[in-house]
């Protein structure tokens, strides 16, 4: 039965863990809280070490908390990260997205910095500053940086944050055995979506939308083992989905993939969603990494990477690139469909009057592949971090999802 305006405004008769208020995707206050309280304090992927293969290589990154960063590989091989800001007059220090420079030199007034962030040169320092300013006072702002979990360069703006390993916990346990070999990025793409960043992560956190993907239906949903895949929630809002054997030859013109991945069964597929906006997606021959970077409540920059093994022969690499592009490239079968879905959501959640009122995350199938426990688990962590219920975000600071009215047991942590 179609609903009246009053009925449309009425929360669904579900536990408050099982739906969210659509305003969490558009409210500017919540957005700023997310930037400060979530992204400003957590580990995110800036790039991959293969993007900085040589000493003095650098790579820029738009941090989701708002600041631009630059990662630099030093002469000692260590990768460090800094604000991409000259401390002198606030110009962007490095303009190109990647390059190699023995010294990072600001084009504005020629101040120079080494790969450890030390200021190594102030043009006409004695004449202008006499002894009032020391280079040691004007080094770059260093940001916590660790390389790990497949060679990714992780950064954290919070100097007092727990370590990366503490943040990840056991969430990448399914994948870590497959991330030991050195990896290399062969695909990098940015996409700006008119949708909130959480909507992209939501899509990566549920497989029910395989109904949208013809490719996934015929190679996965219609194959044995698909509904045996289970969601496993982990501390800090992460979740994983176990493997199955994808039948790539079931898609017209397809065939079994000719290259595999170390330790992964043929046709295997493991996916891990990391709070607040990163997805590891290892699908038979290719590792895909999504990084969601919020730009505004209804606007998100996605960084999409495809990786193979550094040891690939040219023929093996060509196979991985082809496999990647079939579904995940900008002309691939699945990526375009995912964008259509999320941009559609973005239109109806762009503000409080755009149509959507409550978004359901209520499927329960014993944590099976179409269970929406991944999203529920995410929003439990989101609520804990912000001190707001995702279902009733304006009901009063301090109320948290999953505590008050849930009739179902809380999600395992």
């Amino acid at each position: 039965m179609a609903r009246t305006a009053d009925a449309w405004e009425r929360p669904p008769g579900l536990p408050e863990t099982h739906f969210v208020d659509a305003r969490i995707y558009s409210d500017p206050t919540i957005f700023e809280e997310e930037r400060a309280q979530i992204f400003g304090r957590t580990w995110v992927i800036a790039c991959h070490e293969s993007e900085l293969p040589s000493p003095h290589d650098y790579r820029t990154f738009q941090h989701p908390a708002g600041v631009g960063l630059v990662a630099v590989r030093g002469a000692d091989g260590e990768v460090r990260a800094f604000y991409n800001v000259c401390p002198h007059r606030g110009n962007v220090l490095v303009h190109d997205p990647a390059g190699n420079a023995r010294a990072l030199t600001c084009i504005f007034h020629a101040w120079t910095f080494d790969s450890a962030g030390h200021c190594t040169g102030i043009a006409r320092r004695k004449e202008g500053y006499q002894d009032r300013l020391s280079p040691s006072d004007v080094g770059l702002r260093r940001v916590a940086c660790q390389v790990g979990f497949g060679g990714f360069v992780w950064v954290n703006l919070d100097d007092r944050a727990p370590g990366l390993r503490d943040h990840i916990g056991p969430a990448l346990g399914l994948l870590e055995p497959h991330l030991a070999a050195p990896l290399e990025v062969f695909h990098y793409q940015q996409v700006i979506l008119d949708a909130n960043f959480k909507l992209w992560h939501d899509t990566n956190s549920e497989f029910y939308h395989d109904y949208m993907h013809h490719f996934n239906r015929v190679t996965g949903m219609l194959q044995p083992g698909y509904f045996d895949r289970k969601y496993v929630p982990y501390p800090n809002g992460h979740a994983s989905v176990g493997s199955m054997q994808v039948r790539y030859d079931s898609y017209a013109g397809g065939g079994e993939r000719k290259v595999g991945w170390p330790g992964l069964a043929p046709g295997g597929w493991i996916l891990v969603d990391l709070f607040p906006g990163i997805t590891y997606n290892l699908r038979t021959s290719v590792l895909r990494i999504d990084t969601a970077i919020p730009l505004a409540p209804g606007r998100t920059l996605l960084e999409l990477r495809g990786l193979g093994l550094k040891s690939d022969s040219p023929a093996e690499r060509a196979e991985r690139v082809r496999d990647h592009n079939t579904i995940w490239g900008p002309f691939g079968r699945n990526l375009h469909e995912d964008f259509l879905g999320v941009v559609g959501q973005g239109r109806t959640t762009r503000d409080a009057r755009a149509g959507s009122r409550f978004i359901l995350h209520a499927r329960e199938e014993e944590r099976g592949i179409h269970d929406e426990v991944g999203m529920r688990h995410y929003y439990a962590e989101w609520s804990r971090r912000l001190g707001r219920s995702a279902a009733h975000p304006f009901a009063g600071i301090g109320a948290t999802s999953g505590t008050a009215t849930a009739t179902h047991p809380p999600e395992p942590r």
Partner: protein, 174 residues
């Protein structure tokens, strides 16, 4: 035949046939006439879309299909959910080069033409008809001619995109 061999200038007929083919291919795709597009492709077609990534400092390959692969892509489109906004291609042929002056055996050169064109693709949404630029790049085509029948077929199309931010992407080739 070596790619490095100097190429002769095309005849007016060759140039005309090459121009016509490049423009006809764009019109076919714009019209959604995929069968008509494939008719103008040689059996040994290879079609690629790539872009250079300044972030990776490497070239990337985003689509690589032979003729059966392209046919399958077209045939499976109805099974997929695709953006229904219309893509319109604006192509300008910049350069046509004839076959090499001499072939590897030292005889008179025969063979395929090389054609370089500028490509702009515009996207027009159904609701309201607003048009935005989708992508710019260049087409590097190899064209095979049969002068007796005055038929031209596309043997190789390499699209090098300048644009890498492609919005929600596309299920269609460019």
């Amino acid at each position: 035949m070596s790619d490095a061999s100097p190429r002769r200038s095309p005849t007016e007929l060759e140039r005309s046939l090459a121009h016509d083919l490049v423009y006809e291919l764009s019109l076919r795709l714009d019209a959604g006439d995929f069968a008509g597009y494939l008719e103008r492709c040689a059996p040994d077609l290879r079609y690629t879309i790539g872009a250079y990534s300044p972030e990776l400092r490497k070239p990337m390959l985003w689509l690589d299909l032979d003729k059966p692969g392209l046919r399958t892509l077209f045939d499976t489109l109805p099974r997929h959910h695709s953006d229904h906004a219309r893509l319109s291609r604006h192509v300008t042929v910049y350069k046509v080069e004839g076959p090499p002056d001499v072939d590897d055996d030292g005889g008179a050169g025969g063979g395929d033409l090389q054609v370089v064109s500028a490509l702009q693709v515009f996207r027009t949404v159904l609701d309201g008809g607003a048009t935005t630029l989708f992508a710019v790049g260049k087409l590097f085509d190899t064209v095979r001619l049969d002068l007796e029948t005055r038929a031209a077929r596309l043997v190789r199309r390499r699209i090098e995109l300048d644009t890498r931010m492609l919005g929600i992407g596309s299920h269609l080739p460019l």
